[in-house]
Symmetry: C2
Subunit: 230 residues, 2 copies
DNA sequence: TTAATTTGTGTTAAAACAACACAAAGTTAA
DNA sequence: TTAACTTTGTGTTGTTTTAACACAAATTAA
């Protein structure tokens, strides 16, 4: 049996969105050389543990959350000294969650868990800033060809919420009318009969929901979600 | 230091294209339980070896080739028993090469190396068929939004070569005129003054080249290569 | 009751796409 | 040497999609 002395970890870049701001979850390390440093939630996997399960476990342990969307992002293993203690290869995961659904609570290894606005991320341990950058790019591009924005919103949302989410994450203006037309044309967003008054003033708006079942149906018929425009 | 007993390998899905057929490179194992079985080129990484270097080394050792394009595809580590001997997590890489540039020669660990048409891939060892499927999908989708087709062709090619490559890999008809118009409109393919007679009969055609420098320039100006259409 | 805010809706000009056919340059076979 | 065949090369047009744009309706705050 070959001799190899490398450890494997998983890390997660968890995005949350609230009122026009995109956040990334970080945890503060309790032990070790990097104690007190902010890092991405993650850790070593167990010998008999699938990668995906490991990420979910770490997110639960370190921040007390369960995400809405989770996919593998990339594996970081070219820099042999990305962890200065010994060689660690890390499989990074990309995740989305609605921050309202959870109260962050650091548990086992983490001293604290906190949402950082994506524009104000401190220097993180290891190569975690690079991971965040890659994940941020992925979020931006994926938003245009997969309906993942809904995983960042409440079950029921105003059309303006969806629109603002797109505007702020893609960092550009979007024509409100064209956006609504396009999204509605897909038939995957349905209008509820609930009407809600915005916090402040203005005409009340209808609440909408994402119809995942309909979306999965359409996928089989070769439907392609796509909104890169105006 | 944590105790973990997992090995890390890399594997490569190398695509080659020739005369309307897409091929995948496989090697025949010389030793071990899977002796004589066809598998993807790959192997365990060294303790101080970056992942990318490991893939390049294995491709050189097992098949004697250097690829034109190489990128990380995905990491396979959810099935804890994908290797029945002990737990191995494999980082799969996606690669493109022009088969004409090399004569395959198995070297160190491999008994033989061979191109299989992507439609006639035998049962491979481990979960390598799943890797090939994922890579094949990636190739298809990437072909439409990144100019990677050129890495499968000769330096100089006929327009019909490019068109046939797209047709056969995407498995659909493409209008010859619209295709040419679109590609030429990007300005990244330049006409040489060489004219070549096709093997058999027919009017001789001009040779074209992919202008990578121009493409990189355009990228800075927010150019987006894209051909999903007729 | 007036001003301010937010939702909701339709038209039009411009651009991109899809569909389509024939002439030119060469080879092969009669 | 001519006719048949093969492959390259090129433009136009109708249809669809996209981009740009403004005003009325419902509510709150002053």
């Amino acid at each position: 049996m070959i001799d190899q002395n490398i450890k494997i970890a998983v890390d997660a870049i968890v995005f949350g969105y609230e009122k026009g701001t995109l956040y990334v979850l970080a945890v503060q390390q309790r032990f070790g050389k990097l104690a007190d440093r902010w890092v991405l939630p993650g850790g070593f996997i167990l010998d008999d543990e699938p990668l995906l399960i490991a990420v979910e476990r770490e997110l639960k342990e370190e921040a007390g959350i369960t995400v809405n969307y989770l996919e593998q992002l990339a594996t970081f293993g070219d820099d042999v000294h990305r962890d200065e203690r010994f060689r660690v290869i890390s499989v990074a995961y990309f995740a989305l969650v609605n921050p309202k659904n959870f109260v962050l609570k650091a548990d086992t290894d983490a001293k604290d868990a906190k949402w950082f606005p994506v524009t104000k991320i401190p220097q993180l341990g290891y190569d975690h800033n690079a991971m965040v950058n890659l994940a941020h790019q992925r979020l931006k591009s994926k938003l245009t060809y997969q309906p993942i924005g809904f995983d960042l919103l409440d079950e029921e949302f105003l059309f303006s919420d969806l629109e603002n989410l797109y505007c702020s994450i893609l960092e550009r203006d979007i024509d409100r009318r064209n956006f609504r037309k396009k999204i509605l044309s897909f038939g995957i967003v349905t209008e509820t009969d609930k009407v809600v008054k915005m916090g402040a003033s203005g005409r009340p708006g209808k609440l909408f929901t994402f119809d995942k079942t309909k979306y999965n149906q359409l996928l089989k018929e070769n439907f392609q979600f796509d909104i890169r425009f105006a």
